[in-house]
């Protein structure tokens, strides 16, 4: 064997080893969380409120809170994100305004989540006087989720063949009718995939909700949009750092539920993607 071949073998082996270095910790973390939480997950844990200073009972209010926030986030970010992507792909001419929007999307995606938290606090909680509330938290998370939804929608719209638009326009349909009936329906799978993915990220975020919605301990369900709620990621943060003497099994179980929820949403997005890819007709 020549030295060059020898070198190639060694190099590829080393690359493989380093990749293992990435992969093994992922598996270890998942395994570690599952192993330590499986005993503490029970129906009661999921359906009951915390008791006795969060040392006993379940995390039901936090689960509900996170789901409420996911829905709230979607209600704001989905229409806004889809419409701005429609603007970028279907309406915008290549001018300064369009380039400014594109640059803004890039920058929104890079802003640290804690800065979103600060912004949400001054704009929604204080300036618009929404208070620490579901509304303020959802709006903050929605702005944070926008870039992913916009990017996914843009790609989905761009993948719809130009000919569909030509057919529709040539039959005398207006611009909006064309977008509404001949473009958007075929972009829905891509839009859904991106939306679910961005919502799964929003579900796991802590920093943006710290000062906008999250309640330290609120063992009841929210009654209005102006209520605070507990949320899974914040709850995990609280019980693992802020309150002493919480049994670690409760932290692990909370962690398991949070990861479970996030993975479930990712799974939904993957299934959607592969389902529609099979059905794709053009």
């Amino acid at each position: 064997m020549t030295t060059a071949r020898m070198r190639e073998k060694i190099a590829f082996f080393v690359l493989g080893l380093i990749t293992l270095l990435v992969v093994i910790p992922i598996l270890m973390i998942i395994f570690y969380i599952v192993k330590n939480s499986i005993g503490s997950i029970s129906w009661e844990f999921i359906t009951q409120s915390p008791r006795n200073g969060m040392k006993e009972g379940g995390i039901f209010p936090a689960i509900v809170g996170t789901i409420v926030l996911i829905i709230g986030t979607m209600l704001f970010s989905l229409p806004l994100g889809v419409l701005s992507a429609v603007y970028l792909v279907e309406y915008a001419r290549d001018n300064f305004f369009t380039r400014l929007i594109k640059l803004s999307v890039v920058n929104l995606s890079g802003i640290p989540s804690i800065v979103y938290g600060l912004f949400g606090f001054t704009l929604f909680v204080l300036f618009l006087k929404l208070g620490t509330s579901i509304l303020a938290g959802s709006l903050t998370l929605a702005i944070m989720s926008l870039p992913v939804i916009i990017t996914a929608t843009k790609e989905a719209l761009e993948s719809v063949p130009l000919s569909f638009r030509e057919i529709s326009l040539s039959l005398g349909a207006t611009k909006w009718q064309t977008v509404r009936y001949c473009v958007l329906p075929y972009a829905i799978p891509g839009i859904l995939t991106g939306t679910v993915l961005s919502l799964s990220r929003a579900a796991g975020e802590t920093a943006p909700i710290l000062f906008t919605v999250a309640a330290f301990y609120l063992p009841r369900l929210p009654r209005s949009l102006f209520d605070q709620v507990m949320a899974l990621p914040y709850h995990l943060y609280v019980i693992s750092t802020q309150v002493p003497n919480i049994p670690v099994s409760i932290s692990f179980a909370t962690c398991f539920v949070l990861i479970g929820l996030v993975f479930l949403m990712n799974l939904v997005s993957i299934i959607l993607r592969s389902h529609y890819r099979k059905k794709k007709l053009w």
Partner: protein, 289 residues
């Protein structure tokens, strides 16, 4: 006529949405700037930028961000040293070496890693990584910069790997075939031809990864020990810009100097990430050409 009106309304909404995206970036900047300027009315900007003490509740309070800034730099530098070579190597393996079935498994695992919420990694850091580091390295505390760096490196990997992999796969086949034609091995072609050709994309991936590391809050707040002193070693407790905002915001009175100081920290973060993303975006644009 009715249809014309509804069409006009919806098209106006579409334009408004495009405009709102710009408006949000401006609003974020404006609100941060407004509250930061309130601080600089009473507190010298020079002392804020170059002060070596962050003592918000002493009398008089001191808001020097040098310790926080260095805290962020230490943790970020530590993370970069780990995740850049590892990430690029893994991307090379996935793009050029792994057979298809392994490639798919690896990519799914990377997606799983990207999906793990940061608070979960912070939790893992508390219950597992920091005690482990404390024991094996004989540290006085496991809550230190290194723990943060390791976890952040881990968090930045999916970004770096997926963007670098895209860049490597996007290199035209002809480049590689030309190298093979000259008798190069696959490794030589990868190392000498494909990797340099993919470098703009890889740099963009690295920049975006760094942006994520600097902006990450929960992990560093949970595992780096929260000690706002000028760090001298990555093995000491320290505190980052992000963790300072997250940790102290709840204790401030809105409208106080301390409150405004945290917005000034936020503005610094905004500017840093703005620059990083701008560079990454120009690299990506160049890579696409």
């Amino acid at each position: 006529m009715h249809r014309r009106i509804s069409e006009y309304i919806i098209e106006s909404l579409i334009r408004l949405s495009g405009f709102l995206v710009i408006a949000f970036v401006f609003l974020i900047f404006l609100f941060l700037l407004r509250d930061s300027l309130s601080l600089f009315k009473e507190y010298k900007i020079g002392e804020f930028l170059f002060g070596r003490n962050w003592l918000p509740i002493s009398e008089p309070p001191k808001f020097g961000i040098v310790p926080l800034f260095l805290g962020s730099i230490y943790v970020t530098a530590g993370a970069i040293v780990i995740c850049v070579p590892v990430g690029i190597a893994a991307a090379m393996f996935i793009a050029e070496v792994a057979p298809t079935f392994l490639k798919n498994i690896l990519k799914s695992l990377i997606e799983i890693l990207a999906a793990i919420p940061s608070v979960v990694l912070g939790f893992i850091g508390i219950v597992w990584l920091s005690p482990y580091l404390k024991q094996t390295m004989g540290l006085s505390t496991g809550m230190c910069g290194l723990t943060g760096s390791l976890l952040l490196a881990f968090m930045a990997l999916p970004t770096i790997i997926s963007i670098s992999e895209d860049a490597l796969v996007g290199v035209p086949r002809a480049y590689k075939e030309a190298a093979f034609g000259l008798g190069a091995t696959r490794w030589q072609a990868l190392w000498r031809i494909v990797l340099p050709a993919a470098s703009p994309g890889i740099i963009a991936g690295v920049m975006l990864g760094i942006g994520r590391v600097i902006g990450e809050t929960m992990v560093v707040m949970m595992v780096t020990g929260n000690s706002p002193v000028v760090p001298t070693s990555i093995l000491q407790p320290l505190r980052t810009l992000t963790a300072t905002i997250a940790g102290e915001m709840g204790e401030t009175v809105s409208g106080s100097e301390h409150y405004f100081a945290l917005f000034a920290v936020g503005l610094v973060l905004f500017i840093i990430t703005f620059i990083i993303n701008f560079i990454a975006d120009s690299c990506l644009r160049r890579a696409r050409k």
